[in-house]
């Protein structure tokens, strides 16, 4: 890899003051990267948890720092909040003798398509992709068109591979809506993979209700149960519901790929 073992990695997540599982995938991927001993230091930082983006740089000894947003798409957090809180001036910021390299969000990585397919195969290992509709579900919001664009780009990449009979996207807050999955999919098997960073209220509660596999939000203690009851038989179709793609252990490789792409784009021709 182009970066040496003297650099620091800061993985930035959203975090939550209510949901203890929100930051878990960010820590999980950080732990895996620590195990690989590729960086002198690995830190996590969060918008809603500690250490905050205002604190985290004070925890770093290394002079060369990579900041990777563990976010599914470009948007308000990657374009406004993180640069503002870290006082970044662009992809490369020099401050106090340190170089801060600000990478793209992990959701932009081309390998995300592999992870979505991996998740789909894991949750429905015995169904034939040729008789299956793969539904990638994202948040989608009228406030930011990039949220849906990120999911669309993955759907196009998966569709081009031709392994599934049908590949489509659906969103919580914009069309095509998750709640319309019955009419928007045609195959006897439907595999649903949330294009989210973490399992939280959306994947535990909101999406299962929109899919019709839960009639009301599940109790906190049994939230993981929603992934254990596959398949769900609804209207003569078999529906398989996966946990968020961002909880996939292979995300550590996506983070490292993201840093490699940053180096190729911004450091090509330099000593790195």
């Amino acid at each position: 890899m182009p970066h040496d073992k003297k650099s620091a990695l800061i993985l930035v997540g959203h975090g939550s003051t209510l949901n203890p599982d929100s930051s878990a995938p960010t820590f999980q991927h950080a732990d895996e990267i620590v195990r690989r001993a590729l960086f002198a230091e690995v830190h996590c930082s969060f918008w809603k948890e500690e250490p905050s983006l205002r604190e985290v740089l004070r925890m770093v000894d290394a002079d060369d720092i990579y900041v990777v947003p563990n976010f599914i798409s470009e948007g308000y957090f990657t374009e406004t909040v993180i640069p503002r809180e870290l006082e970044l001036v662009g992809p490369v910021t020099h401050r106090f003798g340190k170089i801060i390299n600000y990478c793209e969000p992990v959701g932009n990585d081309p390998r995300m398509a592999d992870l979505l397919l991996h998740r789909a195969r894991q949750v429905a290992p015995n169904v034939s992709p040729k008789e299956t509709s793969l539904l990638i579900v994202g948040h989608g919001t009228s406030l930011n068109e990039k949220s849906a664009e990120a999911a669309q780009s993955q759907v196009r990449a998966i569709r081009e591979r031709g392994s599934y009979a049908e590949v489509s996207e659906a969103y919580m807050e914009e069309a095509p809506l998750i709640a319309d999955w019955r009419k928007n999919t045609s195959q006897p098997n439907v595999v649903v993979v949330p294009f989210f960073i973490a399992d939280g209220l959306h994947s535990y509660q909101d999406i299962p209700v929109l899919l019709g596999i839960e009639s009301e939000p599940t109790a906190a203690a049994s939230q993981q149960e929603v992934f254990r009851r596959n398949p769900y038989y609804l209207d003569g179709r078999a529906l398989y519901y996966a946990s968020a793609v961002g909880t996939e252990p292979l995300m550590a490789d996506v983070i490292l790929d993201t840093i490699d792409r940053f180096d190729r784009k911004h450091l090509s021709g330099s000593a790195a």
Binding site: S16, T17, L18, N19, P20, F27, D31, H43, W47, K48, E49, E50, P51, S52, R54, E55, V56, R58, M59, V60, D61, Y76, T80, V81, R84, F96
Partner: protein
Amino acid sequence: MIRDELARLIKDGYNALGELEFVESSNGYFLYHSADRDSLHEARVYHAIEDARQIAKYDSFGAYRPLKGAPNLPRGWLIQLSNIDGLQRALDFFYPGAIGTWLALRSGTARPVCLRQTLNRQTGMYRVTRGLSADQARNLVTEACRSDGACLRTILWGIEENESPDFLPSSKSDLTVDQTGQRRAALPFICLEACNLLVAAARTTMKKSSR
């Protein structure tokens, strides 16, 4: 490096931070809740640095602890760490950035940021906090950051630019005061800038006052 300075501070006699205490052992460091100091033989023993993160995540009732400075760490555990690097990382799981922030203030590379500056920077759903009055701010901070039940950090920022936090009890902004009230040789556990939880509380105040 931060860990070298931490080792030096421990050699100088500092052995506490927030609700934690740590001592050098024959093969590394012991880290535990200060209230368990006399009953460590009963504590559950952990060895992994990441165990610190899990212990710090919930209080003794199993409730999530989003504010790490809250004086409600669970008791009954002892983490054995093999070196200063492990101790530093474990402390950062309990009190994220506390050591680095203190060292940055001491070296002059960081300084307190007044609440007004923090609020004026907010966008999106928190933009509304820009309208928080000085009186509202003082009442909010006095309640939401108090050491007896809310947060053990020593506050060094005022409401407006160049103001000191003189609306708080003097002990709350005194670096030499152990906020747990135990008068231990504690490393300063400082707050240089309002956290997101306080900004969120400011938003709640604004929403209530606009009704």
